[in-house]
């Protein structure tokens, strides 16, 4: 079940650069369903499922395992932790959140309440309170360089929606895992890449694409939303279907791949949205520019409040996306 796969993957700790716990969960899920699994030098989990066709193309499908977090930069005398950003985490979104370190140690992210100019607070005003009373006590629990992430917090929201940290991009990891489980005798070779370090510059997918040399690239990622009171763009709504990316800051989707995604959606009977995003990027940008170029597209899951501790998606969009992916690996 997509929902169970999703929940399993959401709870794993995996800030950019330390994604191995997520990879381990994926390995467990895929054992016995695929032709090969290996981990590369950057921690990408690369999974093959061979296609049936004599002239099968190699399709690299990428979903990133890493999520954003806070890295400890200094332990203060009174036991508080000063932190820096791992990926695009903002003080305003992280304030007051419960965080968790790799070993399960909890902490609370606090935005300094007693400052003159509240409108201009940045990460230097943020600290993490782990309950330690002195530097010595804190040093026994954490070291400079340790990373904390939003504590797992999976919530059903209404009939079809779920909220959780790390939905970006574990929802795509869940889709890719299910694609690899359920693709059966498909035409093309699927090389699934559970990629690393997307949030710090599409770094894992770039090296994976270099090694794989795919004929076609496809990234699965979340996109922003335009359906809350004061937000109009991108013109993408939750529950109205997955979105086919036209462009973002990292990539203009290769027209031929984009069209194949629309074809796959039609064949699967799934309604899709068209996404033009003025910011952001996905693994697609790195895959497309690998070596002498790879025709590449991105399939997006509409997601509200991206990079907050409550990233909200609609399971109907997820189910639609899985159907499209299963068609795509046959059609392309």
């Amino acid at each position: 079940m997509l929902r169970d796969t999703l929940q399993t993957l959401l709870n794993a700790y995996g800030p950019s650069g330390s994604e191995h716990a997520v990879a381990e969960k994926v390995r467990e899920l895929l054992e016995g369903h695929v032709d090969s699994m290996k981990t590369d030098a950057l921690g990408n989990l690369i999974v093959e499922k061979f296609g049936a066709d004599e002239n099968a193309k190699t399709i690299m499908v990428s979903a990133h395992m890493d999520h954003i977090g806070l890295v400890v930069t200094n332990i203060e005398e009174n036991g508080f932790l000063r932190v820096g950003a791992v990926g695009g985490i903002s003080p305003e979104l992280v304030r007051g959140r419960k965080m968790v370190f790799q070993d399960g140690l909890p902490g609370i992210a606090v935005l300094e309440p007693n400052v003159k100019n509240k409108a201009r607070q940045d990460l230097s005003d943020l600290f993490v309170d782990i309950g330690a009373e002195t530097r010595e006590e804190a040093e026994k629990l954490v070291s400079v360089g340790d990373v904390c992430v939003y504590a797992p917090d999976f919530t059903y929201l209404g009939k079809n929606r779920v909220a959780s940290p790390a939905m970006d991009d574990r929802c795509a990891c869940a889709l890719l895992a299910e694609l690899l489980m359920y693709a059966d005798n498909q035409k093309n070779h699927i090389v699934g890449v559970f990629s690393t370090q997307e949030e710090v510059g599409l770094r894992g997918a770039g090296v994976a694409a270099y090694a794989i040399e795919p004929d076609i690239g496809l990234a699965i990622d979340v996109t922003a939303w335009g359906d809350t009171p004061e937000t109009k763009l991108p013109a993408v709504k939750l529950g109205k279907g997955p979105a086919v990316k036209i462009m973002d800051r990292s990539m203009i989707a290769t027209p031929a791949v984009r069209e194949k995604l629309f074809e796959a959606a039609q064949a699967a009977g799934v309604i899709v949205q068209r996404e033009v995003l003025a910011f952001g990027g996905t693994d697609g940008g790195a895959i497309q520019l690998s070596r002498a170029g790879v025709p590449t597209g991105t399939l997006s899951i509409p997601c509200r409040y991206v990079h907050s501790a409550n990233e909200v998606i609609d399971m109907r969009d997820m189910e639609g996306a899985l159907k499209i992916l299963l068609q795509f690996v046959d059609l392309a």
Binding site: L233, M247, I252, T254, P255, E275, V276, R291
Partner: protein, 345 residues
């Protein structure tokens, strides 16, 4: 084809960044009779090879153009706009545009009449969020013909000015593609040792992307990027602008010093005027990515001064264009295998 006819034709062809297939096809057809091999790669880069036994030289001028994209359709049928590359919203009101929907559609970008503006409004510049394309159709008809992601191209009009000047959209950087075309024509009668690759590159305006994959494919020994720079106009800072009547050879950390010296020597030997520009950091041209392709490529940057960059009246000097062709051809002919040993001399 005369170089200026080439420019007149190519600037009319649709080729927004990321969807350059039509303009690539035009370049392929025009370059094909002048070279030994021609390919279009997966990113729509056109790669024309004129063979020689010597080192590989890659020339690169980008063929993509800036434009707009439909990002939303309002209930009144207005098309809201996003950027493909850096279109300045201040130039948009009063423009005639083509929307590439299910069929090409003429549209206009209007502006609120001055009579209806408040004093406060009058002080403000136009913002892209406030502008829209009006096709004249009601919502239902617009929805039938137009989708989110459809491209919007700015108006093409070739204006011949006095004093050897002309204005047209997309001189950035198709004027430099025209210079490559001219060089290829001249090279039909000039002996060259180098293995020459003329690349009309894609997606420069969204981050010099095409040249990355083209340079990987070509794997050159030397690189020459061609792009446009700013010509002097009233009020523009003098230290950032140049005279319209000759080409510019930039210098700076991204430019290979010895290769640049070779370029200036070729210019001098052939009586071709060359200005100097200093670019203290990245050049924001194909040169940046060409220079760090694979294990690194010694690269120079040659620039054509242009007035009114990123408008529909990009203005150049016709003689500078022709001289550009001559310089490129002479440089191509001068490159020799010994240059590789002289790179840090």
């Amino acid at each position: 084809m005369h170089i200026e006819d080439f420019l007149r034709e190519i600037t009319a062809i649709r080729g927004l960044s990321g969807d350059e297939a039509l303009v690539s096809a035009f370049v392929k057809e025009a370059f094909a009779p002048l070279c030994d091999e021609i390919t279009v790669d997966k990113m729509n880069n056109v790669i024309a090879r004129k063979k020689g036994p010597g080192p590989k030289v890659m020339f690169s001028a980008h063929l993509d153009e800036i434009g707009l994209m439909v990002v939303d359709i309002e209930k009144d049928g207005c098309l809201r706009l996003g950027n493909v590359g850096g279109v300045d919203p201040r130039i948009l009101p009063g423009q005639r545009v083509t929307v590439y929907g299910r069929e090409p559609l003429l549209g206009i970008i209007g502006a609120k009449p001055p009579h209806l503006l408040t004093d406060e409004d009058r002080k403000k510049n136009y913002l892209r969020e406030d502008l829209y394309v009006d096709l004249g159709f009601p919502y239902e008809k617009v929805k039938e013909l137009v989708q989110i992601g459809d491209q919007v191209q700015l108006e093409h009009r070739y204006v011949e000015l006095k004093n050897d000047q002309a204005a047209v959209k997309t001189c950035d950087d198709r004027a430099c593609v025209a210079i490559m075309y001219q060089a290829l024509k001249l090279l039909q009668n000039i002996r060259h040792e180098a293995d020459l690759y003329f690349v009309a590159s894609s997606q420069e305006e969204v981050g010099c992307r095409g040249v990355m994959t083209a340079a990987f494919g070509v794997d050159p020994d030397f690189g020459v990027a061609l792009d446009v720079c700013h010509a002097a106009t009233p009020g523009a800072p003098g230290w950032r602008t140049h005279k319209l009547d000759s080409l510019v050879a930039s210098m700076g950390p991204y430019i290979h010093p010895v290769l640049r010296r070779k370029l200036t020597e070729v210019a001098k030997d052939n009586n071709i005027a060359l200005q100097t520009a200093v670019v203290p950091r990245n050049t924001s041209t194909d040169a940046d990515e060409l220079g760090r392709a694979r294990a690194g490529v010694p690269t120079v940057l040659l620039e054509l001064p242009l007035k009114y960059m990123h408008t529909t009246v990009e203005t150049f000097n016709r003689n500078t264009l022709k001289e550009g062709g001559r310089l490129l051809a002479q440089f191509a002919a001068a490159v020799s295998a010994e240059w590789e040993d002289e790179l840090w001399t």
